[in-house]
């Protein structure tokens, strides 16, 4: 690099600054950021935050911007090239942040919960400090809104609303394998409950696969997602929890519930997981599963319908009374 050419030095000095304390070049950071941005917009759930990279790039943009404003010949080709590049980079970073905020708004509770889980497990943070504050504020505002509009007038016992769990494990995504020697991925075999199919991840192959199977690989940045697809239950709209309950497998039930499986999911055959255990195909129902499920708040299909209608009736009665009192 020629030290004496004033204009060049201006631009390169910022780049050199970064090289001193970090071995990664800005070019590398940008390449990584582009990939992370793609992953984030395609993944069905939040991926661990990469705020560090965003900060590095924002620094770069700031420095470059200062340099450009100092240049005298604003019309020169190199100035407009630099300017367009800055716009491209800020588009990537702001779209990345926008996308994350949208996902947090979808379900702030789940985002906070997942974040805390990762902190406990000593994994990289899911949310940056700012995002965490945002999620908490958003959750609070939402709770206040519910309270002011509806929950105030329902009986105290019903005031707690269960936080919906968004269950992304079965959402499908397109993924492209970018590296050699990626370990094989096993996916559940729909034709046989207890079996798994192993899929080879060859370089440059593109797969349409359940997001859950490759989540780990994405975090190690071996793949990039091209686009998410459909979430699926089985052909009867039943979940894995139903199957586990039918088969009477206590360990599977436990791990599914721990993983956030919906405890009262209902599919086409109109049965909850609890119904599945009680009418288990393998003879007598497994008492320990029944006990565990009831303790966790599972209901039979009949029970589920009764509770729902009772809640609705009570709510209407209550709100009618409330309105009459107001008059």
């Amino acid at each position: 690099m020629d030290e004496n050419t004033g204009e060049n030095q201006d631009f390169s000095s910022i780049l050199d600054l970064n090289n001193d304390d970090d071995v990664i070049t800005p070019e590398e950071v940008l390449r990584k950021m582009t990939m992370i941005w793609q992953n984030e917009i395609c993944a069905p759930c939040l991926l661990p935050t990469e705020m560090d990279l965003v900060d590095i790039l924002l620094d770069q943009i700031q420095g470059m911007d200062d340099n450009i404003t100092r240049q005298s010949n604003k019309k020169a080709l190199r100035i407009s090239v630099h300017r367009v590049e800055l716009q491209r980079i800020s588009y990537i970073t702001s779209d990345y942040l926008r996308c994350r905020v949208r996902k947090i708004e979808d379900n702030p509770h789940v985002a906070i919960e997942e974040h805390n889980k990762r902190v406990e497990g000593r994994l990289s943070d899911l949310l940056s400090p700012q995002e965490l504050t945002f999620a908490e504020d958003y959750a609070q505002i939402e709770a206040d809104l519910y309270h002011n509009t509806a929950l105030e007038i329902v009986p105290a016992g019903l005031r707690k609303i269960q936080v919906p769990t968004t269950y992304h494990n079965e959402d499908m995504v397109y993924a492209k394998v970018l590296k050699d020697n990626v370990e094989d991925v096993s996916i559940p075999d729909w034709t046989d409950l207890n079996a798994e199919v192993v899929i080879e991840m060859e370089k440059n192959s593109v797969h349409l696969i359940a997001f859950n199977s490759i989540k780990q690989l994405i975090e190690q940045e071996d793949n990039f997602l091209t686009s998410p697809l459909v979430g699926c239950r089985d052909k009867n709209g039943e979940t894995a929890l139903h199957e586990a309950c039918l088969a009477g497998k206590f360990d599977c039930v436990l791990s599914l519930l721990k993983g956030g499986s919906a405890i009262n999911a209902v599919g086409k055959p109109c049965r909850t997981p609890l119904d599945c255990v009680i009418n288990s195909s393998s003879g007598a129902p497994n008492r320990s599963i029944v006990d565990y499920l009831t303790r966790e708040g599972a209901l039979t299909y009949e029970g589920l319908r009764n509770t729902a209608s009772k809640v609705i009736q009570r709510f209407w009665k209550k709100s009618k009374l409330y309105r009459e009192k107001k008059k």
């Binding site: 050419t5 204009e7 060049n8 631009f11 390169s12 780049l15 800005p26 070019e27 940008l30 582009t34 793609q38 917009i41 395609c42 790039l57 770069q60 470059m64 080709l77 190199r78 407009s80 090239v81 630099h82 367009v84 590049e85 491209r88 980079i89 588009y91 079965e170 499908m172 397109y174 996916i187 559940p188 075999d189 729909w190 034709t191 199919v197 899929i199 440059n204 192959s205 593109v206 797969h207 349409l208 696969i209 359940a210 091209t226 686009s227 998410p228 697809l229 459909v230 979430g231 699926c232 089985d234 052909k235 709209g237 209902v266 599919g267 086409k268 109109c270």
Partner: protein, 180 residues
Amino acid sequence: MNAEKCEFLAGNEPIEVIPSISDDKPMHLISGDIGPFEAGVPVRIPIWIALLMKRKHHCKIVMPTWMDVEELKRILTAETECQGLSSLPDYFFEISHMLVRDARDDIFEVEAVKSLVQDIYDRRDAKLRTSAIAFLSQNRTCHAQLDCVQPIEVASARGTLEACKQLGILVRNKHDSTPL
């Protein structure tokens, strides 16, 4: 991911240009250095810079080797004969779209190129649609491998499949809420 984002990403691919200006100082961009330029000597630069220079009439873009009527005809025949998707250069549709839009005068027989690319797209789109229907109507496997699929095709398939998912939810809700 939508078509615009695909095109944005395709803008990072390198392409050859013949500059009409000279500049002996290389440009130090965040995404890497480019230049120096010398009038008449071809250099490889990212497409977004090439299009910017093109708009200012600072260069002529050299079309990629596959963007030629004979070559495109060959690709089209291969696509017709091939059962699955045939392999295409990266960001095939995005790049051809950008070039046809912004660098018309550098393309030889631009109308023929345009209709050939359109034909190739239609043929692949038809294949993808049939396979998507086959995939959605079966319940034996939850995995599919589509090796040579292009980003823009994935982006367009997503709308249909997302809609299928929503329809599934609606049907399930109707079933769940119908009194027995």
